[in-house]
């Protein structure tokens, strides 16, 4: 199994989720993160003082899939999340050795 981690632009979440559902992903986990990269932050100004906001809000999607589905999922995410502008984000593929469904105790690919 693989864990696919994607860092995407927040407003793309809905689209990515829908696209993943279509290719047969039944579960995923998302969290709010902040990203630092080529995309520049901006400055905010309060009472004459500047604050540099380096870290840009992003959403992280984590989805664990069978090896067979991994490539498909990566492509799906890339296609759905792309705007073509800097800061679109990354997808990483990480090996997963085992998975358990807490409710049933099922193991491995059955668990996801």
């Amino acid at each position: 199994m693989k864990k696919i981690e994607a860092i995407i632009k927040p407003f793309k979440l809905e689209e990515v989720k829908d696209a993943l559902t279509e290719v047969g992903v039944h579960g995923l986990t998302v969290s709010e993160v902040k990203g630092f990269g080529r995309q520049k932050g901006h400055t905010e100004l309060y009472r004459g003082a500047e604050y540099v906001v380096d870290f840009i809000p992003k959403v992280k999607i984590e989805v664990v899939v069978p090896d067979s589905l991994a490539e498909k999922v990566v492509e799906t995410i890339v296609n759905a999340a792309r705007t073509g502008r800097i800061g679109d984000g990354k997808v990483f593929v990480i090996p997963v050795e085992d998975a358990v469904r807490i409710r049933t105790g099922e193991r491995g690919e059955n668990a996801i």
Binding site: K34, H42, T43, E44, L45, Y46, Y51, V53
Partner: protein, 405 residues
Amino acid sequence: MEVGIERLPQSLNIFYLLAGAVMILSMHAGFAFLEAGTVRKKNQVNALVKIIVDVSVATLAYYLIGYSIAHKVCFVKPASGLMADQGLELVRFFFLLMFAACISAIVSGGVAERMKFRPYITAGFFLAGVVYPIFEALIWGERWSPAFQGWVKHIFGAPIHDFAGSMVVHGLGGWIALPAILLLGPRMGRYVKGKSRPIPISNIPYLALGSWILIIGWFGFNVMSSQKLEDISGLVAVNSLMATAGGIIGGVLFGKNDPGFIHNGALAGLVAICAGSDIVNPLGAFVIGLIAAFIFVKAFIYEQEVLKIDDVLGVVPLHGLNGLWGGVAAGIFGQKFLWGLGGVSFWAQLFGALLTLVYAVVAGFILYGALKKIMGLRLSEEEEFEGADLSIHRITAYPEDRVKI
């Protein structure tokens, strides 16, 4: 104290009117928080700033222009010339200004989250300086009102009765907002491919705070509309309360416990009771409020979901429709056979309501249409996406949260 006691009635009227003026001033804080709670976080600062700057600009406009249009008094002269009756006329200005300043505050709720700051404020200047005073002069003021209301009375048997401004203030403001909203168009993402995609509001406690501040201040709006202490009426106060209660209970019943409908229901009731609060029966006031909540709930959903008009706070149904309803309701529940005090004509009220509607929509189209031509009304897509706070004020409502990580 010998001298004091002689001018006591005059001192008292100043005190009384001033209490009202300050209470209505506080309502503007209510408008600010009602809007801040109903928009998304990224537009909260803008909501707050719009209202407070509005009031200031309206103050200038009404002081320099508006008051002399409506009341034929010019204040541009030495202070000694302003001190007759201990400055009573100035306080009357303060009190009436607070009504004028409501117009733009009402519009604000409709055009929230996407309008540029400059044209918004410019409009506010003209609303308080020209548009509102002209209508005020017709119904309430010293300039045309005597002749016009005489004519209305001649035709319908009674003048247009609008004790505290259901039509003159709320109806006007609500219907002026409509063209502004239409000229602006809906917020990005509000209607996608013809489907409604509701945008969640940010903060119900702020909304509730705004509503409470408005409710409390409204007692100054209505009661002190007698303008003279000796004309104070307990009926006005209790009718305002009963209409609030009706509006809230209506919000519960028709709005199915929805906190937005409940807190705005109170305001709907208050909008509707302004016109007739001095003449209807408290039980009538309760029913007026109940119906006002019904109108608000149904019309709001219809406006948003069927007509697809993105009126963020629902100011057209809240102030516009209920303002007219309030005018008409005074003509119904003010009648003696419905336990009112009488002396009001249903047809005069209906005429007043229609007049308000027509004047407001026309004036709104001209004003916002001209501003659209001249300066443009709408933030760029990117600015709107970033939020008005960041793009106009260069800061968000919770700076620490942004900067931390």
